[in-house]
């Protein structure tokens, strides 16, 4: 039996040294030219006119405004999708209702549909000539080509992240913990805060990180509804494009380096969360 196992493992793909070496080598090579070199290039290009120019271009009023708007969008999007994602995950994993499966499929639409299409749809609905937008226009409310529109499409584009992280975990954990808590007399809020939340804490944080990363970096949908008004409705990704089209390559890369930095920090935080989670699972 054991000798059989041995020969089987000898025949496993990738067990021969040359297969192993060339696979790892190829992976590293591709990672380098596809990921690492462009990342380095961003920072290299950002500093091509020196550190002084780098910081002056970042401190330009329009750039500062773009940074502020981007942070505002993320700060509004994340809490909305945090609450919405938890509600959604709770509903589909804890209740049985007709259309539950359909709902789980529908929630992936923002992933499946191109963000540009999402942007156009919002424009069609909420634009000044749109179905809902024309009515809102009469009430003197403008959503499109203004920051509320940007927040709306960003919420749309990022809404599956939290729910997608929570659903598999909550399905796997089952309802027993919550049933035990409610039998012991816990109220709905006590149940959520003392039993459910600690159980889903790490997945929730993970979902929030992904939501935040996407909210900061979203381009397609935002570019349709923003109207690109410099210093008013320009988010950081849009600003990068605008600067580049103005032949301010170094300034564009300086702004881009900020986005790249946020992305790197996010990944670092994500790695830290994963490490914490793993450690907790092994010690618990």
């Amino acid at each position: 039996m054991s000798s059989k196992k041995h020969t089987a493992s000898q025949l496993r793909v990738g067990d021969r040294p040359w297969v192993k070496r060339s696979l790892i080598g190829l992976t590293l090579f591709l990672t380098t030219i596809l990921l690492v070199v462009p990342l380095i290039a961003i920072f290299q290009q950002a500093f091509v006119k020196g550190a002084g120019h780098y910081f002056t271009s970042l401190l330009e009023a329009d750039t500062l405004h773009a940074i502020g708007l981007t942070l505002l969008v993320a700060a509004l999007t994340v809490p909305v999708n945090l609450v919405f994602g938890v509600m959604l995950a709770w509903s589909v994993t804890r209740f049985e209702f007709p259309g539950r499966k359909l709902l789980m499929t529908l929630m992936d639409i923002p992933f499946a549909v191109s963000p540009v299409v999402a942007g156009l749809l919002y424009l069609l609905l909420y634009g000044n000539n749109g179905w809902i937008g024309s009515w809102l226009y009469e009430q003197d409310i403008q959503l499109m080509f203004a920051w509320p529109g940007i927040v709306m499409v960003t919420v749309f584009v990022t809404c599956p992240f939290v729910a997608r992280e929570l659903i598999p975990l909550m399905q796997q954990q089952g309802r027993e913990d919550e049933e035990a808590a409610v039998i012991l007399g816990a109220s709905g809020w006590q149940l959520f805060r003392r039993v459910t939340l600690p159980n889903i804490k790490w997945a929730l944080i993970y979902g929030v990180i992904l939501t935040n990363a996407r909210a900061v970096g979203e381009f397609g949908a935002v570019s349709v509804v923003s109207g690109n008004i410099r210093g008013e409705t320009n988010t950081l990704p849009l600003h990068v494009q605008l600067q580049y089209e103005d032949y301010q390559a170094a300034a564009a890369f300086a702004s881009a380096s900020l986005l790249a930095l946020i992305a790197l920090l996010t990944l670092l935080f994500k790695a830290f969360i994963e490490w914490r989670q793993e450690r907790q699972e092994t010690t618990l």
């Binding site: 027993e176 913990d177 049933e179 035990a180 409610v182 039998i183 012991l184 007399g185 006590q190 600690p198």
Partner: protein, 362 residues
């Protein structure tokens, strides 16, 4: 507290999980709900707890109607098969949970809660584990903690869903005895679900045998064993061998095999159920029976030797089992592959289509 269950029924989609059934549980009684999976026993337990709502019927605790009372307000203790301990809380916090979530007016002071928790942990003999997390405990320890947690709020009704199902045989036996002791000492009313007939017979004051959403029989363990009132109960309470016989010249015949009817037995076709210890073995056929069987396995189990036998020249749906005391076996050992003849001493006869059995003795 007594529990009165009246005409409770439940369907899940198209599936009738419980047909209307009624059950009267006395105060301080320990009731075992016994049945195969899908028999509705867990559904019934969850309806008593309030975790599921019944489609029809009424439930009463004592003289309080709880049919429409929320789980939270029923104040029952519930123990899950997989413990359902809160993994991020220490053992002590788990046990304290039911007290911690009480409304402020009813909640004991923190020091009082601590005292009660330690008392409960002492009771389950695990006080030294108070600061551990559930994942650091063995299965048996987890189940004791789950029990302590369920008892913290001093419920008068304790419900247990396959409480020992996930434990190994030795721990299961130990916990069973310990639970029975606790039940007798504290005097709550217990209902537990099990698919293990031995567990149900050993632990319960009365056993409720269920199948397909019906109650088949409710009786004390001894009475249940002595007079099973249906084929199902007979089958489920186990270790019965079935001889399918057609009447021919005062004998039940199945191909080459036959059994002579005892005096006074009605001459009808049907099935003879014989328990695994109600046989004698011989090397030749007897006047009373000609039942040749080939020995396919010999397993010493505890005080007995179990033979597995397959029919020779006649037909049976299942393999036959016989339990012989070691003494009897050692006197006349048989070997694997050998053909032996068995003779029933007592049995239960179900005439074709009859629900009731007729006990027989030779």
């Amino acid at each position: 507290m007594s529990i009165l269950i009246e005409h409770i029924s439940k369907t899940f989609g198209q599936f009738q999980a419980l047909s209307p059934l009624s059950l009267d549980i006395q105060e301080g009684e320990m009731i075992g709900l016994l049945g195969p999976s899908g028999s509705g026993k867990t559904t019934l337990l969850r309806i008593i707890a309030g975790l599921e709502g019944a489609d029809t019927g009424r439930i009463q605790f004592g003289d309080r109607d709880v049919t429409n009372l929320h789980v939270r307000d029923r104040r029952v203790g519930f123990v899950f098969q997989n413990y359902a301990l809160f993994r991020h809380m220490t053992v002590a916090d788990n046990v304290a949970f039911g007290l911690d979530v009480l409304p402020r007016k009813e909640r004991p002071s923190p020091s009082e809660i601590k005292k009660r928790v330690m008392h409960l942990l002492d009771m389950v003999q695990l006080a030294h584990l108070a600061n551990r997390f559930p994942s650091q405990l063995s299965g048996g320890q987890k189940q004791r903690i789950a029990l302590a947690r369920a008892l913290a709020t001093q419920p008068e009704v304790l419900l247990l869903d396959e409480p020992f199902g996930a434990l190994d045989a030795k721990v299961r036996k130990e916990l069973r005895r310990w639970l029975r002791g606790l039940h007798d000492e504290l005097g709550f009313t217990s209902v537990f679900v099990t698919h293990d007939q031995e567990e149900a017979l050993e632990l319960s004051d009365r056993v409720v045998v269920m199948s397909n959403g019906h109650i088949e029989q409710v009786d004390q363990p001894g009475a249940l064993y002595a007079s099973p009132n249906s084929r199902f109960v007979f089958d489920f309470l186990g270790n019965a061998n079935v001889f399918e016989g057609k009447i021919e010249n005062g004998q039940w015949r199945n191909e080459q095999a036959h059994i002579v009817l005892p005096k006074g037995a009605a001459q009808q076709n049907g099935q003879l159920y014989v328990r695994s210890h109600e046989f004698t073995v011989s090397e030749t056929a007897t006047d009373q029976a000609n039942l040749p069987l080939k020995v396919v396995a010999i397993n010493p189990i505890g005080a007995e030797v179990r033979l597995e036998l397959s029919p020779v020249g006649w037909h049976s749906k299942d393999i036959w089992e016989m339990d012989l005391p070691h003494k009897v076996f050692d006197k006349k050992p048989v070997e694997k592959g050998q053909t032996v003849f068995v003779t029933p001493k007592a049995g239960y006869f179900f005439a074709q289509d009859a629900k009731q059995a007729e006990p027989l003795h030779w």
